[in-house]
Structure formats: C-alpha cells, structure tokens
C-alpha cells in the first residue's frame, strides 16, 4: 500500500504543469519527502529523469494544455521552428529570479546594439510565443522590458546570476522599494558550477505600504515579509482562498499536459537539445580560456 502511495505521489510530481504554482509544488515535494523516492528512481531510469528535467529547463516546449487548442501537427512544426532558432542563438536555462542581460539590435539605430540588464520577474507563453519580463531601476525609474524569446532581433541572452526565488512571479517588486530591483548594468557573470543545483534565494522582500498595484495579501506569497495590514485584510483573503484546489485532481489534469505526452515531446527533440547543450559547453570553455589574458 505504501509503495502504491509513494509511486502515486511521484507520478503526481512528475505530472508537471506548465502552470507555475504546480511547478513550485513539484520542486518542493522533490526537495522534501519525495526526494528519497526520486533518488531511487533516478538510479533506475536515468533517461526518463533527464526528460523530466527538460520540462523545468525548457518549459515553453510544452504546449498549451487547453484541449481545444491542441493539434499535434501544429505543435510539431512549432517545435521544429524553436529548435532551428535555438541552434542559431544560445537561449540559456533561466528561471524567474535570475538576472539576465539581453542584447537586441534596433532597427532605428542600426549602428548600435541595445543591452538591458534586469531581473526576470515573469515568464509566460508557450511555443514561439514564449516571453519573459525583465525589471531594473534606471535613473531612479523602474523599467520593465518584455522580450519575446524567439524574436530574431535578439542577439544575445546572458544569464548573469542563475538562481531561483521563493515565488513563481516577482511582480510584487513593483510595490517594493527600489533597492530590491536595482542591478548594475555592468555586472559581471557570476560563475555557476556545471551540473550543480540551481540555488534558491530565500530573500524576503519588505513591500512599501499600501496603496499597491494588486492585493498581495491574497496571493499567498512566500518571498515577502509580513505585510503589516489590519486583521480584516487577512480575514477577507482567507475567505477568498481556495485551498481545496490543490486536491482537485481533475482540475490539475485539465491544466497540465499528461506525463506520457511530455516524455514523447522531449524524446522527439532530445538529440537536438543535447547538441545545443554540447555547443554551449564548448563555447563556455572557449570564453573562460580567453578571459584571464585580459585580466593580466
């Protein structure tokens, strides 16, 4: 019986969702109780787990789970286009909370390229429509730029600091003091060991007092300090909360792509993705070799 339950919890955890909430859920379950079981299974089936990790690294390869938007031919063509773009430009692994530098070419200023550094506060869309939102404070003014991941005018995407935060969206940084979203535009790339787990930054943000852009007390945020609101706000938030939804298996199923389909999708593009990873590693080595000569 215990075996069945543990297996079931694993299948739930691997039954990933493109939705951020469940992604976080799966991460947490992995790090806590299910970690032992996951380790065992890792030894059993490495390739399967590699496929399972792809869904976190390349979430945009999973299609929109809404059944009325699905079509296998369209999804296949879309993946082919994504792969052919990825084989030309390095779109690295990154998460919400990472600090990125994006270099784009500007049609109105053809002689120069434009580089923007900022923290990724949101990732959304799937397929060729995948995009991410970068935020930084420039001249005391909060600036946000939405980049399309497969836009051909993007020349380079660099991950300056690879880390995760406690939340799936950091939109609350808009209501936080500026120092939480200020990053040096000339920031150096922070080294990250290959294959090491992505560190989780457990920083708690202290929000500015109300008025806010959204009612953050209702969002069940993890990376925020006590909001310091009167009791009635929390009471209302409690009334509107839907804690039973995480037990609604049908809802979970409708919101996610089934595990078998995910494996099928990633198995189809696995060799291409591996090629891309090898090229990335080669280039990385090249760059690290070149740098010391400059410093000396």
């Amino acid at each position: 019986m215990i075996n069945i339950i543990s297996k079931y919890s694993l299948s739930l955890s691997t039954l990933t969702r493109t939705t951020n909430a469940s992604k976080l859920l799966t991460n947490r379950t992995k790090t806590t109780a299910a970690s032992n079981i996951v380790k065992k299974h890792k030894q059993d089936d490495n390739s399967k787990n590699a496929l399972a990790e792809y869904r976190l690294i390349y979430p945009e390869f999973l299609p929109d789970p809404r059944i009325d938007f699905r079509n296998s031919v369209r999804e296949k063509l879309e993946r082919m286009d994504m792969i052919s773009r990825r084989s030309q430009i390095d779109i690295p692994e990154f998460y919400v909370g990472c600090i990125l530098a994006v270099t784009t070419s500007d049609k109105h200023n053809p002689a120069k390229n434009h580089r923007f550094v900022g923290i990724c506060i949101q990732r959304s869309g799937c397929g060729l429509r995948a995009n991410f939102l970068l935020r930084n404070v420039i001249d005391n003014q909060g600036v946000e730029v939405l980049y399309e991941m497969y836009d051909p005018t993007i020349i380079r995407i660099e991950v300056l600091r690879l880390e995760k935060r406690l939340d799936d969206e950091l939109l609350y940084l808009r209501d936080a003091p500026q120092e939480y979203s200020t990053f040096d535009p000339n920031m150096e790339i922070e080294p990250h060991m290959e294959g090491a787990p992505v560190p989780i930054n457990t920083i708690k943000v202290k929000l500015k007092p109300r008025p806010w852009l959204e009612r953050w007390e209702r969002k069940n945020l993890k990376g925020v300090e006590d909001l310091g609101l009167p009791e009635r706000f929390y009471k209302r938030a409690g009334e509107l909360a839907t804690p039973w939804e995480k037990y609604d298996l049908m809802k979970q199923y409708m919101k996610t792509v089934p595990e078998e389909e995910q494996n099928q999708i990633f198995a189809e593009i696995q060799s291409e993705l591996q090629n891309i990873e090898i090229t990335r590693k080669k280039l990385k080595r090249k760059r690290t070799f070149l740098k010391p000569s400059k410093l000396a």
């Binding site: 063509l77 084989s87 429509r129 005018t153 020349i155």
Partner: protein
C-alpha cells in the same frame, strides 16, 4: 388563351389548328400583382447532400467476420489506389490566364503562431493544413443548377468540382453516401465541398490536390463556420459601446439604446442591429496572404487570426476574388501536378519572411516597390555564431 393553356396544360390539345380542351375541373386562385413578386425560391439540395453517418448497431459479428470486413476495406483501398495510379491522371497543365477560375481545397485550421518578417516585425499567422484532397466528380453547369430555379437560364456558367478530404472507414457511412464515390473509385471521404471552376479547370476524378496548389505571396479567401456564441447582446454582437456604469444610468448599461426615430420613420427599420444569435454561420475572410508553405505536412501559413472556426475546424480555401490581390504571375493551372522525380524544399518562405534557421547580421536598406526600408541582412551560420 395562353393563360388557359398554361393552367390546363395537361388537358389541352392542339389538333388541326383547333384547341380542344378536355373536360376537367379547374380551380383558379387569383393572386393579384403576382407578376411583381420574386419567384418563390425552391431549395434543392445538391445530390451529394445525403445522410452521411450510419447508425451503428451492434451487429453481433464474430471476430472472424469483423476481421474479414476490415480485410475487405483494406483490399478496396489498395485496389482504388492502384486504379488511380493506372488511370491517366492529368499530365500537362494549361497556361493560366486572369479570367480562369481554379478549384479550391478543403483544409483544417490547426492553430495560430507568430512569424517574424525580415524587417523585424512580428506577424500572427494561422496554420491551415490541406487534407488529402481528391476530386470526386465534376458537375457541368447544366447538371448543377443554383438553388433558385429559373427555367431556361443558367446564371452560373461555371461547372463545379466536388472534392473530398480525409479518407475514412467506409463502414461508418450510409450506403447513399458511399454511392457518391462509387463511380470514381475513391475511398469515401469524411468531408465534401464543391468548388466552381471554369471549363478549362476541370480535373479528372481521383486527382489529388496538395498544398502546392497555392504559392507563397499570393492571397487566398478562407471560408469556415464561425464559433457558436449563442444569443448575444449588442455589445458583443455588434460592438456597441453600451452606456456608462454610473452617473445616474439605471438598468441600461449594456443595452442598445434607441432603435428608431419619429415622424415618417416611426418604425424599426429593417437591418437594425439588435441582440440575437451570434456565430455558427458561414463566413469568408478574403485576401489573406500566404507567408509560408510546408510541403511535408501540407500546411499553409496565412496572415491573421480571424479565420472562422475553432482549432481543428474544417475550412475551405480559395484563390482570392479581390481584384487587386489576384496573382500577377502565372500559377499552376488547373492544379499543381506532382511529379515523382521532382525535389522541392520542405519549407517554402515568402521573400519577406525571416527563417528561424538564419541569424541577423546587420540592418541594410532594401528597396522593394521603390520604397526603401530596413531589413535584417541575415546569413545562415553554424551553431551559436556569437
């Protein structure tokens, strides 16, 4: 006299220049001003509009028998394929002229995704997958009359081609439906559509039509059935603005307002926009440009996201009727003829479209139609040429 003879046509005889009217009872119902009225339209369904799907009963067949049926169906399919191969399918095309009308195709709307142009612009495109189209039958203008009968006059001088798509198991269909395909020897198809063609554009039955029927850069019209939205108010149905949420407005926030004036116009004019049923009707979107064609999966990328129907809905694709967007250069007529030895690329792009397997080098000024604009000068490189 003529009135009499026309009324009692069957009972009148002309012999030796004399009229003999046979004794019959003849009831006259006078309709005044009847000559001014339009003839009553008589709906005559096309011959292929029969009941399609059979009611599936449990036939209590043994496993052997059901396997035998499957085997027969399989054999039929092989046989029909063989026959069509042997058959002299159209070999040479006819030079195209602007006044000639080609057939269209049956396609499936498979989704929407963006493409980028070489000038860095993002466009939204809808993907239409051309199904396994095959010609079923040709109806000459005499055989196929328009639905309103006008004796002695054929308005539509073009004949029509009946085209079927998506081969299916024939045991699911009724006998009447399968009989449509009997003469041609094509395995019954799920979807049928008729396309008017000019006399030169007739195709022999069994001719396959692929996505190569269309060319990138040309425009098409797409017809489909819009999503059923049910009974809707004027704001959703006609895009009215509604009325303010406050400032003393009571109970008329989403209503249409006045529907008529006074005086001589003291009535509701025909065609006034009012609430009612929305969607679930056929709609044609005209002049959509083809940006890209995939020859392996027979997919067309056409501009826009307003193509009627939901994803996986069936649509029909025609050459556009818009005079300014008709093709200037010759197009394959009556259709693109597949040659076995021909080698063509998997993806065919319009010259303005950015290819994902290429990367940006620099912006250059390009001259198209005597207007200068910036495009990406782009080259194909190896992986990550940074």
């Amino acid at each position: 006299m003529t009135l009499l003879s026309s009324l009692c046509r069957n009972y009148t005889k002309f012999i030796d220049g004399r009229v003999y009217i046979l004794p019959t009872t003849c009831v006259l119902i006078q309709v005044r001003e009847s000559h001014k009225l339009n003839p009553v339209p008589r709906l005559r369904n096309p011959t292929w509009l029969t009941k399609k799907n059979r009611v599936i009963h449990d036939e209590f067949l043994t496993q052997e028998n059901s396997e035998f049926i499957k085997e027969v169906v399989r054999d039929q399919r092989i046989e029909s394929d063989k026959k069509l191969e042997e058959k002299e399918i159209l070999t040479n095309s006819i030079p195209w002229a602007r006044n000639l009308k080609r057939t269209g195709v049956i396609a499936k709307k498979i989704g929407i995704y963006p493409l980028w142009l070489k000038n860095g612009e993002k466009i939204t495109t809808t993907l239409l997958q051309v199904l396994d189209n095959q010609v079923i039958k040709y109806y000459s203008p005499e055989e196929y009359n328009p639905q309103i009968r006008r004796i002695g006059k054929i308005n539509n001088k073009k004949g029509c081609l009946l085209i079927g798509a998506e081969t299916a198991d024939p045991t699911l269909f009724t006998k009447d439906y399968c009989n449509i395909f009997k003469e041609t020897g094509v395995i019954p198809k799920k979807h049928l559509a008729r396309f008017f063609v000019s006399g030169e554009g007739i195709l022999p039955p069994g001719t396959p039509i692929s996505a190569m029927h269309f060319q990138v850069g040309n425009a098409v019209d797409v017809r489909g059935k819009t999503m059923d939205r049910g009974f809707q108010g004027v704001m959703k149905r006609h895009g009215f603005s509604g009325m303010p949420a406050s400032h003393g407005v009571t109970k008329t926030h989403r209503r249409g307002g006045n529907i008529g004036g006074g005086g001589e116009k003291a009535r509701v004019w025909p065609g006034t926009k009012m609430p009612g049923h929305m969607g679930n009707r056929y709609l044609t979107i005209r002049g959509l440009k083809i940006w890209r064609i995939n020859t392996k999966y027979n997919v067309l990328w056409v501009s826009g996201q307003g193509i009627p129907g939901e994803t996986n809905a069936i649509v029909t694709v025609y050459d556009t009727v818009l005079p300014l967007r008709r093709p200037l250069e010759p197009i394959p007529f009556p259709t693109y003829l597949m040659k076995s030895d021909e080698d063509f690329p998997e993806n065919i792009y319009d010259k303005e479209v950015h290819k994902f397997s290429f990367i940006i080098e620099e912006w250059v000024t390009d001259t198209v139609n005597s207007t200068k604009f910036l495009i990406i000068k782009y080259i194909k490189l190896t992986m990550f040429h940074n």
